[in-house]
Protein backbone atom coordinates (compact mmCIF):
# COMPACT_ATOMS: atom_id res chain seq x y z
CA UNK A 1 0.00 0.00 0.00
CA UNK A 2 2.48 2.59 1.25
CA UNK A 3 5.96 1.84 -0.05
CA UNK A 4 8.18 4.26 1.82
CA UNK A 5 11.90 4.76 2.22
CA UNK A 6 12.80 1.05 2.20
CA UNK A 7 11.07 0.63 -1.14
CA UNK A 8 12.78 3.80 -2.34
CA UNK A 9 16.10 2.10 -1.58
CA UNK A 10 15.11 -1.05 -3.45
CA UNK A 11 13.91 0.99 -6.42
CA UNK A 12 17.04 3.13 -6.46
CA UNK A 13 19.21 0.03 -6.31
CA UNK A 14 17.46 -1.29 -9.41
CA UNK A 15 15.95 -4.27 -7.63
CA UNK A 16 12.32 -3.50 -8.47
CA UNK A 17 10.64 -4.34 -11.77
CA UNK A 18 7.06 -3.66 -10.74
CA UNK A 19 5.48 -1.77 -7.88
CA UNK A 20 1.85 -2.19 -6.83
CA UNK A 21 0.91 0.57 -4.42
CA UNK A 22 -1.55 3.19 -3.32
CA UNK A 23 0.65 5.94 -1.89
CA UNK A 24 4.32 6.39 -2.66
CA UNK A 25 5.68 9.24 -0.59
CA UNK A 26 8.00 9.98 2.30
CA UNK A 27 5.46 10.35 5.14
CA UNK A 28 5.52 13.81 6.65
CA UNK A 29 8.41 14.84 4.39
CA UNK A 30 7.45 14.70 0.72
CA UNK A 31 8.54 12.72 -2.29
CA UNK A 32 10.28 9.41 -2.66
CA UNK A 33 12.97 10.65 -5.00
CA UNK A 34 14.20 7.27 -6.19
CA UNK A 35 10.64 6.24 -6.98
CA UNK A 36 10.10 9.47 -8.88
CA UNK A 37 13.38 9.13 -10.74
CA UNK A 38 12.44 5.62 -11.80
CA UNK A 39 8.95 6.61 -12.98
CA UNK A 40 9.90 9.97 -14.50
CA UNK A 41 13.33 9.10 -15.94
CA UNK A 42 13.56 5.32 -15.89
CA UNK A 43 16.64 5.55 -13.64
CA UNK A 44 18.28 3.18 -12.91
CA UNK A 45 15.67 1.23 -14.86
CA UNK A 46 12.06 1.61 -15.89
CA UNK A 47 9.59 0.19 -13.42
CA UNK A 48 6.10 -0.95 -14.09
CA UNK A 49 3.55 0.50 -11.71
CA UNK A 50 0.06 -0.58 -10.78
CA UNK A 51 -1.72 1.87 -8.55
CA UNK A 52 -4.86 1.79 -6.49
CA UNK A 53 -6.45 3.66 -3.64
CA UNK A 54 -5.77 2.56 -0.05
CA UNK A 55 -9.34 1.27 0.18
CA UNK A 56 -8.85 -0.73 -2.99
CA UNK A 57 -5.59 -2.24 -1.79
CA UNK A 58 -7.13 -3.02 1.60
CA UNK A 59 -9.99 -4.81 -0.16
CA UNK A 60 -7.49 -6.75 -2.28
CA UNK A 61 -5.53 -7.96 0.74
CA UNK A 62 -8.72 -8.81 2.63
CA UNK A 63 -10.00 -10.82 -0.31
CA UNK A 64 -6.64 -12.58 -0.52
CA UNK A 65 -6.71 -13.39 3.20
CA UNK A 66 -10.30 -14.64 2.85
CA UNK A 67 -9.69 -17.06 0.02
CA UNK A 68 -11.93 -15.05 -2.29
CA UNK A 69 -10.88 -14.20 -5.85
CA UNK A 70 -12.02 -10.59 -5.51
CA UNK A 71 -13.19 -7.92 -3.10
CA UNK A 72 -15.94 -5.39 -3.58
CA UNK A 73 -15.97 -1.72 -2.67
CA UNK A 74 -17.55 1.59 -3.46
CA UNK A 75 -14.58 3.09 -5.17
CA UNK A 76 -12.76 3.94 -8.41
CA UNK A 77 -15.91 5.14 -10.16
CA UNK A 78 -15.41 8.48 -11.81
CA UNK A 79 -11.65 8.49 -11.20
CA UNK A 80 -8.88 8.06 -13.73
CA UNK A 81 -7.52 5.25 -11.57
CA UNK A 82 -10.13 3.04 -13.19
CA UNK A 83 -8.65 3.78 -16.59
CA UNK A 84 -5.11 2.74 -15.70
CA UNK A 85 -5.50 0.17 -12.93
CA UNK A 86 -5.37 -3.42 -13.93
CA UNK A 87 -7.32 -5.72 -11.72
CA UNK A 88 -10.35 -3.49 -11.25
CA UNK A 89 -13.72 -4.18 -12.88
CA UNK A 90 -17.11 -2.62 -12.36
CA UNK A 91 -19.77 -5.11 -11.34
CA UNK A 92 -23.51 -4.87 -10.73
CA UNK A 93 -25.05 -5.59 -7.35
CA UNK A 94 -27.39 -8.54 -8.01
CA UNK A 95 -29.96 -7.10 -5.58
CA UNK A 96 -29.97 -3.37 -6.18
CA UNK A 97 -28.35 -3.00 -9.59
CA UNK A 98 -25.81 -0.53 -8.18
CA UNK A 99 -22.43 -0.48 -9.88
CA UNK A 100 -19.53 -1.29 -7.57
CA UNK A 101 -15.84 -1.85 -8.04
CA UNK A 102 -14.47 -5.38 -7.89
CA UNK A 103 -10.75 -5.68 -7.22
CA UNK A 104 -8.70 -8.81 -7.76
CA UNK A 105 -7.44 -10.49 -4.60
CA UNK A 106 -3.75 -10.13 -3.75
CA UNK A 107 -1.89 -13.21 -2.58
CA UNK A 108 1.75 -12.16 -2.30
CA UNK A 109 4.44 -14.76 -2.84
CA UNK A 110 6.07 -13.44 0.32
CA UNK A 111 4.88 -11.02 3.01
CA UNK A 112 7.22 -9.70 5.69
CA UNK A 113 5.94 -7.82 8.72
CA UNK A 114 7.66 -6.55 11.81
CA UNK A 115 6.01 -7.34 15.15
CA UNK A 116 6.78 -6.75 18.79
CA UNK A 117 7.35 -10.33 19.87
CA UNK A 118 6.91 -14.02 19.36
CA UNK A 119 6.93 -16.92 21.75
CA UNK A 120 9.20 -19.93 21.32
CA UNK A 121 6.53 -21.81 19.39
CA UNK A 122 6.42 -18.99 16.84
CA UNK A 123 3.12 -17.36 17.78
CA UNK A 124 3.50 -13.70 16.82
CA UNK A 125 2.02 -10.78 18.74
CA UNK A 126 1.55 -7.30 17.27
CA UNK A 127 -0.03 -4.31 18.93
CA UNK A 128 -0.52 -0.61 18.48
CA UNK A 129 -1.55 0.52 15.03
CA UNK A 130 -2.07 -2.82 13.32
CA UNK A 131 -2.65 -1.45 9.85
CA UNK A 132 -2.91 -4.21 7.28
CA UNK A 133 -0.27 -6.50 8.76
CA UNK A 134 -2.69 -9.31 9.61
CA UNK A 135 -4.06 -9.36 6.08
CA UNK A 136 -0.55 -9.13 4.61
CA UNK A 137 0.37 -12.31 6.52
CA UNK A 138 -2.86 -14.20 5.95
CA UNK A 139 -2.93 -13.48 2.21
CA UNK A 140 0.67 -14.52 1.59
CA UNK A 141 2.01 -17.80 0.30
CA UNK A 142 5.08 -17.39 2.49
CA UNK A 143 4.63 -15.34 5.66
CA UNK A 144 7.62 -14.02 7.60
CA UNK A 145 7.73 -11.94 10.75
CA UNK A 146 10.69 -10.19 12.26
CA UNK A 147 10.20 -9.43 15.95
CA UNK A 148 11.80 -7.26 18.57
CA UNK A 149 11.94 -10.04 21.11
CA UNK A 150 11.32 -13.75 21.57
CA UNK A 151 9.69 -14.58 24.89
CA UNK A 152 8.62 -17.69 26.78
CA UNK A 153 5.01 -16.66 26.94
CA UNK A 154 2.96 -13.97 25.19
CA UNK A 155 1.29 -11.90 27.87
CA UNK A 156 -2.01 -10.45 26.68
CA UNK A 157 -1.78 -6.79 25.65
CA UNK A 158 -4.74 -4.48 24.94
CA UNK A 159 -5.29 -4.10 21.22
CA UNK A 160 -2.93 -6.93 20.34
CA UNK A 161 -3.36 -9.32 17.46
CA UNK A 162 -1.87 -12.80 17.71
CA UNK A 163 -0.94 -14.72 14.58
CA UNK A 164 -0.67 -18.42 15.42
CA UNK A 165 2.64 -20.10 14.69
CA UNK A 166 1.00 -22.41 12.16
CA UNK A 167 0.24 -19.55 9.75
CA UNK A 168 3.84 -18.31 9.84
CA UNK A 169 6.57 -19.60 7.55
CA UNK A 170 9.40 -18.12 9.61
CA UNK A 171 9.98 -15.82 12.55
CA UNK A 172 13.28 -14.03 13.20
CA UNK A 173 14.43 -11.85 16.06
CA UNK A 174 15.56 -8.50 14.57
CA UNK A 175 15.63 -5.70 17.15
CA UNK A 176 14.61 -2.34 15.67
CA UNK A 177 13.71 -4.27 12.53
CA UNK A 178 11.07 -1.72 11.59
CA UNK A 179 13.66 1.05 11.27
CA UNK A 180 13.15 3.87 10.35
CA UNK A 181 9.59 3.11 11.45
CA UNK A 182 8.95 1.93 14.98
CA UNK A 183 7.58 -0.94 17.05
CA UNK A 184 5.32 0.43 19.77
CA UNK A 185 6.80 -0.20 23.19
CA UNK A 186 10.21 -1.14 21.78
CA UNK A 187 11.67 1.40 19.40
CA UNK A 188 11.03 4.98 18.29
CA UNK A 189 10.35 6.34 14.87
CA UNK A 190 13.58 7.71 13.46
CA UNK A 191 12.16 11.01 12.25
CA UNK A 192 15.64 12.31 11.41
CA UNK A 193 16.17 9.43 9.05
CA UNK A 194 13.02 10.26 7.07
CA UNK A 195 14.17 13.87 6.82
CA UNK A 196 17.75 12.90 5.95
CA UNK A 197 16.44 10.50 3.33
CA UNK A 198 14.98 13.44 1.43
CA UNK A 199 18.48 14.86 1.04
CA UNK A 200 20.27 11.56 0.42
CA UNK A 201 17.78 10.28 -2.09
CA UNK A 202 17.36 13.48 -4.09
CA UNK A 203 20.82 13.04 -5.57
CA UNK A 204 21.73 9.93 -7.55
CA UNK A 205 25.38 9.96 -6.52
CA UNK A 206 24.59 10.57 -2.86
CA UNK A 207 22.09 7.73 -2.98
CA UNK A 208 24.56 5.33 -4.59
CA UNK A 209 27.21 6.19 -2.05
CA UNK A 210 24.75 5.72 0.77
CA UNK A 211 23.35 2.40 -0.37
CA UNK A 212 26.85 1.09 -1.07
CA UNK A 213 28.14 2.01 2.36
CA UNK A 214 25.11 1.30 4.55
CA UNK A 215 23.17 -1.47 2.86
CA UNK A 216 25.36 -3.40 0.44
CA UNK A 217 28.38 -2.76 2.65
CA UNK A 218 26.91 -4.11 5.89
CA UNK A 219 26.42 -7.81 6.62
CA UNK A 220 23.18 -7.56 8.59
CA UNK A 221 20.58 -5.28 10.11
CA UNK A 222 22.50 -4.73 13.29
CA UNK A 223 25.59 -3.65 11.34
CA UNK A 224 23.37 -1.42 9.23
CA UNK A 225 22.03 0.26 12.37
CA UNK A 226 25.59 0.69 13.67
CA UNK A 227 26.64 2.24 10.38
CA UNK A 228 24.03 4.97 10.74
CA UNK A 229 24.82 5.40 14.46
CA UNK A 230 21.47 4.01 15.50
CA UNK A 231 20.95 1.86 18.56
CA UNK A 232 18.65 -1.13 18.56
CA UNK A 233 16.17 0.74 20.70
CA UNK A 234 15.90 3.53 18.18
CA UNK A 235 18.13 6.13 19.83
CA UNK A 236 21.03 7.89 18.12
CA UNK A 237 24.31 6.51 19.42
CA UNK A 238 27.67 8.22 19.59
CA UNK A 239 27.42 11.26 17.36
Amino acid sequence: MTPDVIFDQLIGAGRVSKLTFSWGGNPGVGSLHRFRDAVENAWPRAIEIEEHSHAGMAARYSAGASGLPFGTLRGYRGTDLLQFAENVRLIDCPFTGQKLAAVRAINPDVSIVHAQRADREGNVQIWGIIGIQKEAILSAKVAIATVEEIVDRLEPVPGAVVLPAWVMSAVACVPNGAHPSFAMGYSHRDNDFYRDWDRISSDRAAFEQWIERHVIGTPDHSAFLDSISMTASGGRSGI
Binding site: M1, G25, L32, S53, R74, G78, G128, N191, Y194
Partner: protein, 259 residues
Protein backbone atom coordinates in the same frame (compact mmCIF):
# COMPACT_ATOMS: atom_id res chain seq x y z
CA UNK B 1 3.52 32.97 12.28
CA UNK B 2 5.88 34.94 10.15
CA UNK B 3 8.72 36.77 11.83
CA UNK B 4 6.75 40.03 11.82
CA UNK B 5 4.14 38.38 14.06
CA UNK B 6 1.58 38.44 11.23
CA UNK B 7 -0.07 35.16 10.37
CA UNK B 8 1.41 33.44 7.33
CA UNK B 9 -0.73 32.34 4.41
CA UNK B 10 -0.63 28.79 5.82
CA UNK B 11 -1.74 30.06 9.22
CA UNK B 12 -4.74 31.76 7.66
CA UNK B 13 -5.70 28.60 5.77
CA UNK B 14 -5.37 26.47 8.85
CA UNK B 15 -7.34 28.81 11.08
CA UNK B 16 -10.15 28.99 8.53
CA UNK B 17 -10.15 25.23 8.08
CA UNK B 18 -10.38 24.80 11.86
CA UNK B 19 -13.28 27.23 11.97
CA UNK B 20 -15.12 25.30 9.27
CA UNK B 21 -14.70 22.14 11.29
CA UNK B 22 -15.83 23.95 14.44
CA UNK B 23 -18.97 25.14 12.65
CA UNK B 24 -19.75 21.60 11.54
CA UNK B 25 -19.11 20.22 15.02
CA UNK B 26 -21.62 22.71 16.43
CA UNK B 27 -24.43 21.34 14.26
CA UNK B 28 -23.80 17.69 15.12
CA UNK B 29 -20.85 15.48 15.82
CA UNK B 30 -18.14 16.26 13.28
CA UNK B 31 -16.30 13.05 12.67
CA UNK B 32 -13.36 14.12 10.62
CA UNK B 33 -11.10 11.95 8.45
CA UNK B 34 -7.69 13.55 8.66
CA UNK B 35 -4.51 13.30 6.62
CA UNK B 36 -1.07 14.40 7.77
CA UNK B 37 0.05 17.98 7.21
CA UNK B 38 -2.22 21.02 7.03
CA UNK B 39 -5.43 18.98 7.57
CA UNK B 40 -4.09 17.37 10.72
CA UNK B 41 -2.90 20.71 12.06
CA UNK B 42 -6.28 22.31 11.34
CA UNK B 43 -8.23 19.41 12.84
CA UNK B 44 -6.15 19.42 15.99
CA UNK B 45 -6.49 23.18 16.26
CA UNK B 46 -10.29 22.78 16.00
CA UNK B 47 -10.17 20.07 18.64
CA UNK B 48 -8.49 22.48 21.05
CA UNK B 49 -10.59 25.53 20.19
CA UNK B 50 -14.12 24.19 20.02
CA UNK B 51 -16.60 22.45 22.24
CA UNK B 52 -18.11 20.19 21.01
CA UNK B 53 -14.81 19.14 19.51
CA UNK B 54 -14.56 17.24 16.24
CA UNK B 55 -13.73 13.52 16.42
CA UNK B 56 -10.45 12.89 14.61
CA UNK B 57 -10.15 9.73 12.55
CA UNK B 58 -6.91 8.74 10.83
CA UNK B 59 -6.76 6.29 7.93
CA UNK B 60 -4.28 4.15 9.84
CA UNK B 61 -7.28 3.00 11.90
CA UNK B 62 -7.23 5.45 14.82
CA UNK B 63 -10.69 6.63 15.88
CA UNK B 64 -11.03 9.57 18.24
CA UNK B 65 -7.31 10.35 18.48
CA UNK B 66 -6.38 13.20 20.79
CA UNK B 67 -2.66 13.67 20.04
CA UNK B 68 -0.74 15.97 22.34
CA UNK B 69 1.75 16.73 19.57
CA UNK B 70 1.23 16.78 15.83
CA UNK B 71 1.89 13.41 14.23
CA UNK B 72 4.52 13.09 11.53
CA UNK B 73 2.86 10.10 9.92
CA UNK B 74 -0.57 8.48 10.06
CA UNK B 75 1.16 5.56 11.76
CA UNK B 76 2.45 7.74 14.61
CA UNK B 77 2.10 5.80 17.89
CA UNK B 78 0.63 8.89 19.57
CA UNK B 79 -2.47 8.56 17.37
CA UNK B 80 -3.11 5.04 18.60
CA UNK B 81 -2.23 5.73 22.24
CA UNK B 82 -4.74 8.56 22.49
CA UNK B 83 -7.53 6.99 20.41
CA UNK B 84 -10.90 5.76 21.65
CA UNK B 85 -10.45 2.73 19.41
CA UNK B 86 -7.84 1.45 16.99
CA UNK B 87 -9.05 -0.75 14.16
CA UNK B 88 -7.39 -2.36 11.17
CA UNK B 89 -6.88 -0.55 7.88
CA UNK B 90 -9.45 -2.68 6.02
CA UNK B 91 -11.95 -1.91 8.77
CA UNK B 92 -11.39 1.87 8.79
CA UNK B 93 -12.16 1.98 5.07
CA UNK B 94 -15.17 -0.36 5.20
CA UNK B 95 -17.03 -0.08 8.52
CA UNK B 96 -16.18 3.59 9.02
CA UNK B 97 -15.50 5.55 5.84
CA UNK B 98 -17.48 3.59 3.22
CA UNK B 99 -20.37 3.10 5.63
CA UNK B 100 -20.90 6.86 5.71
CA UNK B 101 -19.79 7.47 9.28
CA UNK B 102 -17.42 10.30 8.36
CA UNK B 103 -18.92 13.77 8.35
CA UNK B 104 -15.92 15.71 7.10
CA UNK B 105 -13.00 14.68 4.95
CA UNK B 106 -10.03 17.03 4.70
CA UNK B 107 -8.16 16.76 1.43
CA UNK B 108 -5.33 18.47 -0.37
CA UNK B 109 -3.78 17.82 -3.76
CA UNK B 110 -1.52 19.11 -6.48
CA UNK B 111 -4.40 20.23 -8.71
CA UNK B 112 -8.01 21.14 -8.08
CA UNK B 113 -10.33 21.81 -10.97
CA UNK B 114 -13.33 24.02 -11.54
CA UNK B 115 -15.70 21.19 -10.59
CA UNK B 116 -13.90 20.29 -7.37
CA UNK B 117 -12.08 17.24 -8.70
CA UNK B 118 -8.61 16.63 -7.27
CA UNK B 119 -5.35 15.35 -8.70
CA UNK B 120 -2.74 13.85 -6.42
CA UNK B 121 -1.30 11.36 -8.93
CA UNK B 122 0.69 12.93 -11.79
CA UNK B 123 1.31 16.27 -13.46
CA UNK B 124 1.49 15.71 -17.20
CA UNK B 125 0.56 12.47 -18.89
CA UNK B 126 0.19 9.31 -16.86
CA UNK B 127 2.75 7.25 -18.71
CA UNK B 128 5.30 10.04 -19.19
CA UNK B 129 4.66 12.33 -16.24
CA UNK B 130 6.29 15.68 -15.74
CA UNK B 131 5.94 15.17 -12.01
CA UNK B 132 5.09 11.92 -10.36
CA UNK B 133 3.16 12.59 -7.12
CA UNK B 134 2.67 10.12 -4.26
CA UNK B 135 -0.71 8.98 -5.53
CA UNK B 136 -4.21 8.34 -4.28
CA UNK B 137 -3.83 7.03 -0.73
CA UNK B 138 -7.15 7.33 1.04
CA UNK B 139 -8.34 10.34 -0.98
CA UNK B 140 -10.65 8.82 -3.62
CA UNK B 141 -12.91 7.13 -1.08
CA UNK B 142 -12.82 10.11 1.28
CA UNK B 143 -13.97 12.23 -1.66
CA UNK B 144 -16.62 9.61 -2.47
CA UNK B 145 -18.03 8.94 1.00
CA UNK B 146 -17.41 11.84 3.40
CA UNK B 147 -20.50 13.91 4.16
CA UNK B 148 -18.59 17.01 3.14
CA UNK B 149 -15.12 17.41 1.70
CA UNK B 150 -13.02 20.38 2.79
CA UNK B 151 -10.05 21.03 0.51
CA UNK B 152 -7.13 22.97 1.92
CA UNK B 153 -4.75 24.15 -0.83
CA UNK B 154 -2.67 27.14 -1.82
CA UNK B 155 -4.35 28.97 -4.68
CA UNK B 156 -2.11 29.25 -7.75
CA UNK B 157 -2.72 29.22 -11.48
CA UNK B 158 -0.85 25.92 -11.78
CA UNK B 159 -2.85 24.26 -9.04
CA UNK B 160 -6.33 25.65 -9.70
CA UNK B 161 -6.95 24.33 -13.19
CA UNK B 162 -9.77 24.09 -15.68
CA UNK B 163 -9.38 20.32 -15.73
CA UNK B 164 -7.07 18.07 -13.71
CA UNK B 165 -4.34 16.21 -15.59
CA UNK B 166 -5.47 13.13 -13.67
CA UNK B 167 -8.68 12.78 -11.73
CA UNK B 168 -7.64 11.01 -8.53
CA UNK B 169 -10.65 12.03 -6.44
CA UNK B 170 -14.06 13.04 -7.68
CA UNK B 171 -15.57 16.33 -6.64
CA UNK B 172 -18.50 16.88 -8.99
CA UNK B 173 -17.10 14.89 -11.90
CA UNK B 174 -18.24 16.46 -15.15
CA UNK B 175 -21.04 18.43 -13.52
CA UNK B 176 -24.41 18.30 -11.81
CA UNK B 177 -25.88 14.83 -11.33
CA UNK B 178 -22.57 13.08 -11.89
CA UNK B 179 -22.07 12.08 -8.26
CA UNK B 180 -25.49 10.45 -8.16
CA UNK B 181 -24.86 8.64 -11.46
CA UNK B 182 -21.53 7.40 -10.15
CA UNK B 183 -23.11 6.19 -6.91
CA UNK B 184 -20.93 8.41 -4.74
CA UNK B 185 -22.67 8.55 -1.38
CA UNK B 186 -21.00 11.61 0.18
CA UNK B 187 -21.63 15.28 -0.46
CA UNK B 188 -18.55 16.11 -2.52
CA UNK B 189 -16.29 19.16 -2.37
CA UNK B 190 -18.21 21.52 -0.11
CA UNK B 191 -15.56 24.01 0.80
CA UNK B 192 -12.15 24.97 -0.54
CA UNK B 193 -9.98 26.96 1.79
CA UNK B 194 -7.00 28.67 0.20
CA UNK B 195 -4.48 31.26 1.19
CA UNK B 196 -6.63 33.83 -0.64
CA UNK B 197 -10.09 32.96 0.58
CA UNK B 198 -12.85 30.40 0.36
CA UNK B 199 -14.51 28.79 -2.65
CA UNK B 200 -17.80 26.91 -2.58
CA UNK B 201 -19.67 25.05 -5.30
CA UNK B 202 -22.50 26.85 -7.06
CA UNK B 203 -25.59 24.83 -6.14
CA UNK B 204 -26.81 24.90 -9.73
CA UNK B 205 -23.68 24.28 -11.76
CA UNK B 206 -21.32 22.76 -9.14
CA UNK B 207 -18.64 25.19 -10.32
CA UNK B 208 -16.38 26.44 -7.55
CA UNK B 209 -16.93 30.13 -6.98
CA UNK B 210 -15.12 32.45 -4.61
CA UNK B 211 -17.47 33.16 -1.71
CA UNK B 212 -15.10 34.79 0.75
CA UNK B 213 -11.79 36.58 0.58
CA UNK B 214 -9.29 36.72 3.37
CA UNK B 215 -8.64 40.19 4.79
CA UNK B 216 -6.56 42.28 2.40
CA UNK B 217 -6.95 39.94 -0.58
CA UNK B 218 -8.23 41.44 -3.84
CA UNK B 219 -10.38 39.91 -6.57
CA UNK B 220 -7.50 40.47 -8.97
CA UNK B 221 -5.18 38.33 -6.85
CA UNK B 222 -7.74 35.55 -7.01
CA UNK B 223 -8.18 35.86 -10.78
CA UNK B 224 -4.41 35.90 -11.29
CA UNK B 225 -4.02 32.76 -9.27
CA UNK B 226 -6.81 30.69 -10.78
CA UNK B 227 -6.53 28.74 -14.02
CA UNK B 228 -10.17 29.04 -14.96
CA UNK B 229 -12.47 32.02 -15.44
CA UNK B 230 -13.17 32.39 -11.77
CA UNK B 231 -16.53 33.75 -10.67
CA UNK B 232 -17.26 35.55 -7.40
CA UNK B 233 -20.40 35.14 -5.33
CA UNK B 234 -22.88 38.01 -5.50
CA UNK B 235 -22.65 38.30 -1.73
CA UNK B 236 -18.87 37.91 -1.64
CA UNK B 237 -17.84 37.92 2.01
CA UNK B 238 -14.67 38.44 3.91
CA UNK B 239 -13.24 35.95 6.40
CA UNK B 240 -12.60 37.13 9.91
CA UNK B 241 -9.03 38.08 10.74
CA UNK B 242 -7.26 35.29 12.62
CA UNK B 243 -7.60 36.12 16.30
CA UNK B 244 -4.78 36.15 18.82
CA UNK B 245 -6.44 33.25 20.59
CA UNK B 246 -6.51 31.20 17.38
CA UNK B 247 -2.92 32.03 16.48
CA UNK B 248 -1.68 31.38 20.00
CA UNK B 249 -3.41 28.00 20.07
CA UNK B 250 -2.06 27.20 16.61
CA UNK B 251 1.42 27.94 17.87
CA UNK B 252 0.84 25.65 20.84
CA UNK B 253 -0.57 22.87 18.65
CA UNK B 254 2.45 23.10 16.38
CA UNK B 255 4.94 23.07 19.21
CA UNK B 256 3.18 20.19 20.98
CA UNK B 257 2.23 21.92 24.22
CA UNK B 258 -1.51 22.02 23.62
CA UNK B 259 -2.45 18.89 25.50
Amino acid sequence: MASDGKPTADDVMIVNAARALGDLARVGRATCFVGIGLPSTAANLARKLYDPAPVLIYESGCIGSKPTRLPLSIGDGELGDTADAVVSVPEIFTYWLQAGRIDVGFLGGAQLDRLGNINSTVIGSYHAPKTRLPGAGGAPEIAAAAGRVVVVMRQTRRAFVERCDFRTSVGFGDGPGDRETLGLTGGGTGLVITDLGILEPDPGTCELVMTCLHPGVSREQCLDNTGWALRFADDLGCTMQATDEELEMLHRVRSGVAS
